[in-house]
């Protein structure tokens, strides 16, 4: 079973997307299923490490928090652009944040969250030392950002990925 | 009557705003000053084109713009990733 369908979730998502992009019919279902299977095999040949997901609930909670955060920082950045950075008082800074996360999937998720939020940009992460370099658009207090990344996102990701 | 007019005004404003947005990202694309600035300008230009196609499709009620929007998105993604890779190493395929 593992050999035939190595990535069942990926294949299922591909079938679903194929049916969304076309219209539902038996022919399209068969075609989409074949596509999902073949891409699953190709994906196995690339041999990515399997994500070790411990619990799903922290991820659900995280996605809610992130949606709200993105909404809030959208408003904040739009206002900063409109007022020309609070009339020149905005200070953008590079920030180094030590991370405890080691799991590559969790790190990828964290990178997506940080980049998708306006106001923070992920620049580089060193795997050995675990130091992440961020750029923050409107830095008020350095330690606020460190604790925010740590408490808000990293803890939940650690819970989810173990 | 009035709701149709409001919707018409909203869609017109959306199209004008997205056209202006595309102009601003074009300005950044032309001005630079460095290669990475141009890449970001190009990326944003692709977003604006995608959203413009979505708005136009919603306004005319035809589903054809949706596929066009998808294609623009895929091409833009590949172009930006390739350009960024080129900026790091100076070559695309290692």
């Amino acid at each position: 079973m593992i050999r035939l369908i190595p990535h069942p979730l990926l294949s299922l998502a591909l079938v679903f997307m194929w049916l969304l992009l076309t219209s539902f019919s038996l022919g399209h279902l068969v075609l989409g299923a074949m596509l999902g299977l073949v891409i699953g095999w190709i994906f196995r040949l690339l041999e990515p490490e399997r994500p070790k997901l411990r619990r799903i609930w922290p991820l659900v909670k995280l996605s809610g928090i992130v949606a709200l955060d993105i909404l809030r920082s959208n408003i904040a950045v739009a206002r900063l652009i409109l007022t020309r950075g609070r009339h020149g008082k905005r200070r953008s800074e590079f920030l180094e944040v030590p991370l405890e996360l080691k799991d590559p999937h969790a790190l990828a998720l964290l990178a997506m969250i940080v980049t998708a939020t306006p106001g923070t940009a992920w620049l580089s992460h060193d795997m050995d030392s675990g130091i992440l370099i961020l750029h923050v658009f409107d830095l008020v207090e350095e330690d606020d950002w460190r604790t925010l990344i740590h408490n808000r996102y990293e803890t939940l990701l650690m819970e989810a990925f173990g | 009557m009035t709701t149709g007019l409001i919707l018409w005004l909203a869609l017109t404003w959306a199209q004008i705003a997205l056209a202006l947005a595309a102009c601003f990202s074009c300005l950044r694309l032309f001005k630079g000053p460095r290669a990475q600035d141009r890449v970001i300008g190009l990326d944003t230009l692709y977003f604006c084109a995608m959203l413009m196609l979505v708005v136009t499709g919603a306004r005319l009620g035809t589903p054809f713009f949706y596929e066009a929007s998808m294609v623009v998105g895929v091409v833009g993604f590949v172009a930006t990733v390739t350009a960024a890779k080129f900026l790091i190493r100076g070559e695309v395929i290692e």
Partner: protein, 138 residues
């Protein structure tokens, strides 16, 4: 342009759709204005996220509302665009950010604070010829 097609919508579809369209396109416009007027590259890196996060999301929600009433096709088509944008934007921005950081660290750019430079002393004219092609003059 005639508004006959647009008048077929009831108000409880038309008004939210109009609201979302206006909000999304205005956010996109603000993002690109930021892209135009911000001074440093790393500030400008934040501007496109405004277009791709809630700018795109609001426009897609408006489009879903309009199409689901029109009934010409399934409503979740926009979901594919939304997921696509959500997944690809961080990748492109992250790669551009990393590329810029790498180039600036090697070249010892003044946009970076001193401790991020790769060659500690880094006087610009005495720096050894980097492995990169020289950055073009402005």
């Amino acid at each position: 342009m005639s508004t006959t097609y647009l008048e077929t919508f009831p108000w409880w579809i038309a008004l939210p759709a109009a609201f979302f369209m206006v909000v999304g396109s205005t956010l996109a416009l603000l993002g690109t204005i930021g892209l135009w007027q911000l001074k440093s590259f790393y500030d400008r890196l934040h501007a496109p996220t405004l277009v791709s996060s809630w700018g795109a999301a609001a426009i897609l929600i408006g489009s879903v509302l309009l199409f689901s009433w029109g009934g010409s096709r399934l409503v979740i088509h926009e979901l594919v665009i939304g997921v696509f944008l959500l997944v690809t934007t961080p990748i492109t921005l992250m790669m551009v950010g990393r590329a810029a950081l790498y180039r600036d660290r090697v070249a010892g750019s003044r946009e970076l604070p001193e401790h991020l430079h790769l060659h500690e002393p880094a006087p610009p004219e005495a720096a050894p010829a980097a492995a990169l092609p020289e950055r073009k003059a402005d």
